[in-house]
Structures are given as structure tokens and as C-alpha cells.
């Protein structure tokens, strides 16, 4: 389980997270929605220790991430797959090398690495692209390689940072389907940060709205769709005021 316990984070004088508390249950896909710049990605980065809270704790499998030493943090990270907003593929490596990089770190045998890379690329419908470079791929393909890189690790958790941002509606739907398929095939717990409501309704078991640094409302897809909260309603309906 992943839990945010009263997390505060500021960059200079700008407070981004202001008492964020949230539980992500094992096996579910929780979608965090919110206006741009409300700290959704910042929250996600706290889970893998890329950022540390000014106060409060982020607990992963019973361990406070901020208190871990280098080895402890590495162990936690090995159980988490992270899909970045713009895929963050390594430009100098081929698609297969990108997917294999995390597996090499785990010291797996070459044969197993090859099998896992093939399997992960097949799951994201990118078989046969092994030797292509990231620069040769479209935005949607890059995101799929990013997902393949995360699922190849067979993690307990996958974190998706704006997985459909910048994609056309059809490619967004393909990515949504992939996220659902990933959960069904691998049974992983997912945290998806997005402001794409169609995607949130498709992939989420629960939806949490982050507003002014804390959770405004959390509930099932149906509960969010029927919410009376004016801020949440405004956001999900996409009304300017």
C-alpha cells in the first residue's frame, strides 16, 4: 500500500503540497486529477523518492520513503515502475536497450532480459521495434515504450505521469486500453496522474482530486461523476468558471 501522510512540500515560497493525505489500496488504480500546477506530478515523485517532503511522510509498503538510506530507496524503487509524461526514453539507446536497462540493473541473465523485453514490447503492441531509436518513434509509440520499460520490471506498483497528454484521442484510447490491460495481466497497483477525464473514467477504480495542495474529494468513478462539490464539478465538466 502507498500512503501520503500530511505531506507538505514547497519550492521557495510557493507551497505546492499543503497537507496531502491519501491512501492507495493494493490492486486498485487510483487516478489523481487536478488543475495544471497543483502538484500532481510532485506528489507522484515523492513516492519514488525523487522529491522529499518538507514535512509528513510518504509510506510505501510500510516504509517511510524519506527516511530510507540509499540501499533502502533502491529496494523500494525496484518494486515501482514509473511512466514519465514525455516517456523520458534514453536517446542514445535503442527501444530494446531502453526496456532492458532496468532489468540489467537487477542483474538478470541476458536470456531472461531478452524474453522480458520481447514480452513487454508485445504487450504494448510494439513487437519488431527493438532496434529503432527513440527519435524514430511517434509520441504515442514513445509512451508505449515507456510503459513497456515499466512493466518489464514486473513491479508491484506503476505510476503514470500524464500518460495521455499531447496525444490524439485515438492514441489516448490506445494508452488507456494498455493501462487497463497492464492491470489485468499483471495485477499491479496503479497511480495515474492526469487531467484527461475520459482517461480517468476509463482506467480508474477511484479518483482523487488534488486542489490547493490537498485532496478535495476522493471516491469511486460513479461518486465523482455525481459529486455536488462545485470545484470538482467545474473540473470534471471542464467549465471555465
Amino acid at each position: 500500500m502507498i500512503e501520503f501522510q500530511d505531506v507538505h512540500k514547497a519550492f521557495g515560497s510557493k507551497s505546492v503540497l499543503d497537507g496531502l493525505s491519501l491512501k492507495i489500496r493494493d490492486g486498485e488504480t487510483l487516478v489523481i486529477i487536478g488543475f495544471s500546477g497543483t502538484g500532481k506530478s510532485v506528489a507522484l515523485k515523492h513516492i519514488v523518492g525523487l522529491l522529499h517532503p518538507d514535512s509528513g511522510d510518504v509510506i510505501v509498503d510500510g516504509q517511510a520513503v524519506g527516511a530510507l538510506d540509499r540501499e533502502g530507496l533502491t529496494a523500494v524503487r525496484q518494486g515501482i515502475g514509473y511512466v514519465f509524461q514525455f516517456a523520458a526514453l534514453f536517446d542514445s539507446l535503442t527501444v530494446a536497450e531502453n526496456v532492458a536497462l532496468g532489468l540489467r540493473r537487477r542483474g538478470l541473465a541476458d536470456e531472461e532480459i531478452e524474453d522480458r523485453v520481447r514480452e513487454a514490447l508485445a504487450l504494448v503492441d510494439l513487437s519488431g521495434t527493438d532496434e529503432r531509436m527513440p527519435a524514430e518513434l511517434s509520441g504515442g509509440m514513445r509512451k508505449r515504450v515507456g510503459i513497456a520499460r515499466a512493466i518489464a520490471l514486473r513491479p508491484r506498483y506503476i505510476l503514470y505521469d500524464e500518460p495521455t497528454t499531447g496525444l490524439d484521442p485515438v492514441t489516448s484510447a490506445v494508452i488507456d486500453r494498455l493501462m487497463v490491460r497492464t492491470r489485468e495481466h499483471l495485477g499491479v497497483t496503479g497511480v495515474v496522474v492526469t487531467h484527461d477525464m475520459r482517461s480517468a473514467y476509463t482506467v480508474g477504480d477511484r479518483i482523487a482530486m488534488l486542489y490547493e495542495g490537498r485532496i478535495r474529494q476522493v471516491g469511486t468513478v460513479a461518486e465523482i461523476q455525481e459529486t455536488e462539490d462545485p470545484v470538482v464539478r467545474q473540473f470534471i465538466e471542464g467549465r471555465p468558471e
Partner: protein, 253 residues
């Protein structure tokens, strides 16, 4: 005014602290050989082999000019075989390492700062961390190691090239025979000339790659940030090369 001085002092102390911290992180990553060994070989090829043409080009013309200037200075006052002495000593002790170092600060330091800066702003460095890699082990150690090891080798080639072009110039343009040139070359040669130049080169290699990595990984913002980092890496490296040059002269000569 006192406040401004105070702010500058604090900022200077912070900068020194950041360098120390970065150095410590790099040293801590050294035992992780499994991570840095493979990229180190790639970097040695990139820094070493790919830098040879530009370095040799500079060294070749430096040798020619040194021979001609020495002849211009010595004619009528000092025996001309001292052209060999001046070309050899200057290439080994000073111009070989420093000119090549400055050229490579532009080529190697700038490219490292730009590459790592781009990786930083496109979240590739974060991605490495989430894959449980230490960025210092995967990105910094291979580059700094490659720079420290490969620079003396490249600069040894550069020194040899400068001496050869100096000799050819003496032969063709100065009417100086090969035995005379060699006589001058050997006249004041000491083994220290060789190791001093190579030690200096190694320290330049360390500095240029260290600065390139540090500046690159501290990049913020987008393309503009990468541009600023690239410029900063070249300027810092060039200044540090000149300071180190003076430092080694004071300490070892």
C-alpha cells in the same frame, strides 16, 4: 553594500559546498563497477578517439609556428639547433597540454554539459533513478574516468605531432638538419618534462569532464537552460585549466 558582499560570500561558500557534495557523490559511486564499467568504455572511445582529429590539427600548426618563431627569435644570437629545444620543451610542458585542454574544454566539456543538461530537463535522469540506478555511477563516473585516463593519451599524441611538424618545418623552411634539431631536442630534456605534461593533461581531463557533468546535471529550465549550462561549462573549464596550469607550475617546476 555590506549586505551585497555578504550575499556573494554566502553564494561562494554554497558553490564550494555543492562541488564538495558532487565530488563525494561521485566517490561514493566508484565501488558500483557493474554500473559504470560498460559506459566508461563507450566514453573512452567518444572522448579519446573522437577528439584526436581536432587535437592533432591544433598541435600540428602549433609545432609549425613554434619552429618559425624560435628561428625568428634566435637568428643571429643563439645557435639554431635551440629551435629543437624550444619546440620540444614548449610542446611538452605548456602548449601541448594547455592548447589541447582549451580546445577539448569546448569540444568535450560543452558536449557533456549539453547532453546531461538535456537528459536532466527531459527527465531522463529521473528515469534512471526510478530504474534504481545512481546517476553518478551511470553518468558521471564513466565520463570523469574516461577524461582523466584518455586526456594524457590524446595529448601525448598532440605533443608528438607538434614536435614532428616543428621538425619538418625546421627541415624544409629553416635549413636546419635533422641531427641539429634532435640535438636541440635532447639538450635540456628531462624525464620530468614528459610526466609533468601528462600529469597536467590528466588533471585537465578530470576538470573538464567533472565540470561538464556537474553543470549539466544542475541544468534547469528547457532549451535555454541547456544553452546556459553549455556556455557555463566551457567558461568554467577554461578558467580552471589556466588556474591549474599555474598551480602545477608553482608546485612542480
Amino acid at each position: 553594500m555590506i549586505e551585497a558582499i555578504g550575499r556573494r560570500a554566502v553564494s561562494a561558500i554554497e558553490a564550494v559546498g555543492r562541488v564538495g557534495h558532487f565530488l563525494m557523490d561521485m566517490v561514493r559511486a566508484l565501488p558500483d563497477v557493474r554500473t559504470w564499467a560498460r559506459p566508461a568504455i563507450v566514453q573512452m572511445r567518444r572522448i579519446g578517439v573522437d577528439s584526436i582529429p581536432v587535437t592533432l590539427f591544433i598541435a600540428a600548426f602549433t609545432g609549425v609556428v613554434l619552429a618559425l618563431q624560435a628561428s625568428y627569435t634566435f637568428t643571429g644570437t643563439v645557435p639554431l639547433y635551440f629551435v629543437g629545444t624550444l619546440v620540444g620543451k614548449t610542446m611538452m610542458l605548456e602548449l601541448g597540454p594547455v592548447l589541447a585542454g582549451l580546445a577539448l574544454a569546448g569540444r568535450v566539456g560543452a558536449s557533456m554539459a549539453a547532453e546531461l543538461g538535456t537528459m536532466k530537463v527531459t527527465e531522463q535522469v529521473d528515469a534512471l533513478e526510478t530504474l534504481a540506478y545512481d546517476p553518478h555511477a551511470y553518468l558521471v563516473v564513466p565520463r570523469v574516468l574516461a577524461g582523466t585516463v584518455m586526456f594524457p593519451m590524446i595529448i601525448a599524441f598532440a605533443i608528438a605531432t607538434g614536435i614532428v611538424t616543428g621538425w619538418l618545418t625546421s627541415l624544409v623552411l629553416l635549413d636546419l638538419s635533422t641531427p641539429d634539431f634532435l640535438k636541440g631536442l635532447k639538450l635540456f630534456y628531462r624525464f620530468k618534462d614528459t610526466w609533468f605534461g601528462l600529469l597536467k593533461s590528466s588533471s585537465f581531463g578530470f576538470t573538464i569532464t567533472f565540470v561538464g557533468c556537474m553543470v549539466g546535471l544542475s541544468t534547469r529550465g528547457g532549451a535555454e537552460g541547456v544553452g546556459k549550462s553549455t556556455t557555463r561549462a566551457v567558461v568554467y573549464s577554461a578558467v580552471l585549466i589556466l588556474l591549474l596550469d599555474a598551480f602545477w607550475a608553482v608546485v612542480l617546476l
